[in-house]
C-alpha cells in the first residue's frame, strides 16, 4: 500500500482491508512506536471535525511523526480565495502524506490526483469517509472474531448517512446478512442496494427496531436529524421510535455489540453505556489504531 492514496473504501482491495485490520491489531498491542519520526503528516481540515482530526493527530504523534496543518479554512489561504489545487500543490512540498477533510464531494479524489504525496480522505462532503469504515470493520471483527457471515442491523438515517453507505459497501465482501431499520422517509437508497443485489446477499427492511434486536450480532445506530424531514410533523412521529434503551437489549444474543459513529445525541440513552454490549466508545478508540496502520503502511514503514 506504499504511496497509495485512500479516497474511497473500494480503492483498497479486500486483502488490503484485511492487512490494515491486522496491522491495527498490532498497534493496539503496542501503540507507542517511534517508526514515523522522519515523516511529516499534514492534516488539512477545510471544515472543522475535531474528533477525526484529533484521532489522526494522536495516531501520527504516537508513532513519532511531526504534524502540520490547519483546523478550518478560515485560518488558511483558502480564505483568501486560493484554489484547492494550489493549496494541495503547495502543501505537498512540506509533507510526506496529506490527511484532508473538505466540505465538497470529490475534493479528496481531485487532491489525490494533484498531490505529489499520498492523500487519505478524512471525509469529503456527503461522499466517503473510508477511515471511519475501516475502524467500523475493525470493531466488528474484534468483537465477533470474524467479519464473515454476520447479521448486521443498521438503524436510523440510512438515506443520508455516508458512514452507513460505505460500511454496507465494504461488508458486501463478507457474506453479511443486512437488516435495515429506518423510517420510510430515510430508507437506504437503491444505489447502495445495487451492491447487495449483485452479490445475492440477503437483506431485510423494517421499521421495527425491537423486532430486529434478537436476530443480530451488530446493532449499528445512527442519528436521525430533524433537517432531513420536509414536514416537521413526520419527524415528531418517528423521533422516539429509533431510540435504544437498555431494557430493549434484554432479548439480544450475548455476542451483540452496539456501535455508533458518534457523536450521539439521544438515539442511545445513557443507561445503555454501562451495558457490556455498548461498544461505541471503544469503537472510537479503535480509530487511532486503524489510522496508525494506514499511516505506517502508506508511508511504507510496514508492509
Amino acid at each position: 500500500m506504499k504511496n497509495k492514496s485512500l479516497v474511497s473504501i473500494n480503492d483498497f482491495t479486500r486483502a488490503e482491508h484485511v492487512r490494515i485490520l491486522e496491522l491495527a491489531g498490532a498497534f493496539e498491542k503496542n501503540p507507542r512506536q517511534h517508526i514515523l519520526q522522519d515523516f511529516v503528516v499534514a492534516t488539512l481540515f477545510f471544515e472543522p471535525s475535531t474528533r477525526t482530526r484529533l484521532s489522526f493527530e494522536s495516531a501520527a504523534t504516537r508513532l513519532g511523526a511531526k504534524v502540520i496543518g490547519f483546523t478550518d479554512s478560515s485560518s488558511s489561504s483558502v480564505q483568501k480565495g486560493e484554489s484547492l489545487r494550489d493549496t494541495i500543490l503547495t502543501v505537498s512540498n512540506y509533507c510526506d502524506i496529506i490527511v484532508m477533510r473538505h466540505p465538497r464531494e470529490g475534493s479528496a479524489r481531485f487532491a489525490s490526483e494533484v498531490a505529489k504525496v499520498p492523500v487519505i480522505n478524512a471525509g469529503d462532503g456527503a461522499n466517503q469517509h473510508p477511515t471511519q469504515t475501516l475502524l467500523d470493520m475493525y470493531s466488528i471483527r474484534k468483537t465477533q472474531g470474524s467479519l464473515e457471515n454476520l447479521n448486521i442491523a443498521f438503524v436510523g438515517d440510512l438515506k443520508y448517512g455516508r458512514t452507513v453507505h460505505s460500511l454496507v459497501q465494504a461488508l458486501c465482501n463478507y457474506n453479511t446478512t443486512f437488516h435495515f431499520v429506518s423510517p420510510l422517509e430515510l430508507k437506504l437508497p437503491s444505489a447502495v442496494k445495487i451492491d447487495i443485489k449483485q452479490r445475492n446477499l440477503v437483506y431485510h427492511q423494517s421499521t421495527d427496531l425491537l423486532d430486529v434486536i434478537p436476530k443480530v450480532d451488530i446493532l449499528y445506530m445512527t442519528r436521525i436529524q430533524k433537517e432531513r424531514f420536509s414536514d416537521p410533523l413526520d419527524y415528531e412521529k418517528v423521533k422516539n421510535t429509533y431510540v435504544l434503551h437498555n431494557e430493549m437489549l434484554a432479548g439480544a444474543k450475548p455476542n451483540l455489540r452496539v456501535l455508533h459513529p458518534l457523536p450521539r445525541v439521544n438515539e442511545i440513552t445513557t443507561d445503555v453505556d454501562s451495558n457490556p454490549m455498548a461498544y461505541y466508545f471503544t469503537q472510537a478508540l479503535n480509530g487511532v489504531f486503524v489510522r496508525q496502520a494506514l499511516l505506517a503502511s502508506i508511508l511504507g514503514v510496514v508492509d
Partner: protein, 155 residues
C-alpha cells in the same frame, strides 16, 4: 438548374470526401461542434440547423470535408446527439452509414448534476464512467454520484 433543385442543392451541398453527421437534435448542434473541436477546423465545414426532418421535426446537420473520425472520437457526441447518424463520403459517394454509440467514458462533456461536487466549484475537467448505456447513467469520477438522463446537462 431549376429553381427548386437549386434551392435543394444549396441546402444539402455535397462534399467530395468527408463525414456528414446527420439527425443531430437542433438545439445541440453547437455542442457537437464544441465536442469535436470543429470551431478550429481549417477545411470546408457546413453547418445546418433547424432543418425540416420527417423523423425528428427539426434537425441539425454538420458536413466535415476531408475528415474521417475515429470511433472513440465521434462516439463522444452520442451523449448530446444519441440520434445522430454518420455518413462517410468518398468521391461524392456514400460508402458507409452508421449510428453513434454511447461511449464507456465521458471526459469534460457532461456537467455533474451534484451542485456540491468539486467539479462544479473548481476548474476541473469532469470525468464520468457510463454505467448504463441504455438508460444513460453516468457515475462521476469525483463525487461518485450518478448523473442520469433526466438531470444531464453539458459543459
Amino acid at each position: 438548374m431549376e429553381k427548386e433543385d437549386l434551392r435543394k442543392e444549396l441546402k444539402v451541398s455535397a462534399i467530395e470526401n468527408g463525414t456528414v453527421i446527420d439527425h443531430i437534435p437542433s438545439k445541440n448542434v453547437f455542442q457537437v461542434i464544441k465536442i469535436l473541436n470543429l470551431s478550429e477546423y481549417q477545411n470546408q465545414l457546413l453547418i445546418g440547423t433547424n432543418l425540416d426532418s420527417n423523423k425528428m421535426g427539426k434537425k441539425g446537420i454538420i458536413k466535415v470535408s476531408n475528415k474521417f473520425f475515429k470511433s472513440d472520437e465521434i462516439n463522444k457526441i452520442a451523449l448530446v446527439a444519441p440520434t445522430a447518424t454518420l455518413i462517410i463520403i468518398k468521391n461524392f459517394e456514400v460508402v458507409e452509414k452508421k449510428k453513434v454509440e454511447v461511449p464507456d467514458y465521458a471526459e469534460n462533456i457532461v456537467k455533474c448534476f451534484n451542485p456540491n461536487c468539486i467539479t462544479n466549484n473548481e476548474e476541473i475537467a469532469t470525468k464520468f464512467t457510463v454505467i448504463d448505456k441504455k438508460e444513460l447513467k453516468l457515475r462521476c469520477h469525483y463525487c461518485e454520484k450518478i448523473t442520469a438522463r433526466n438531470n444531464i446537462s453539458f459543459r
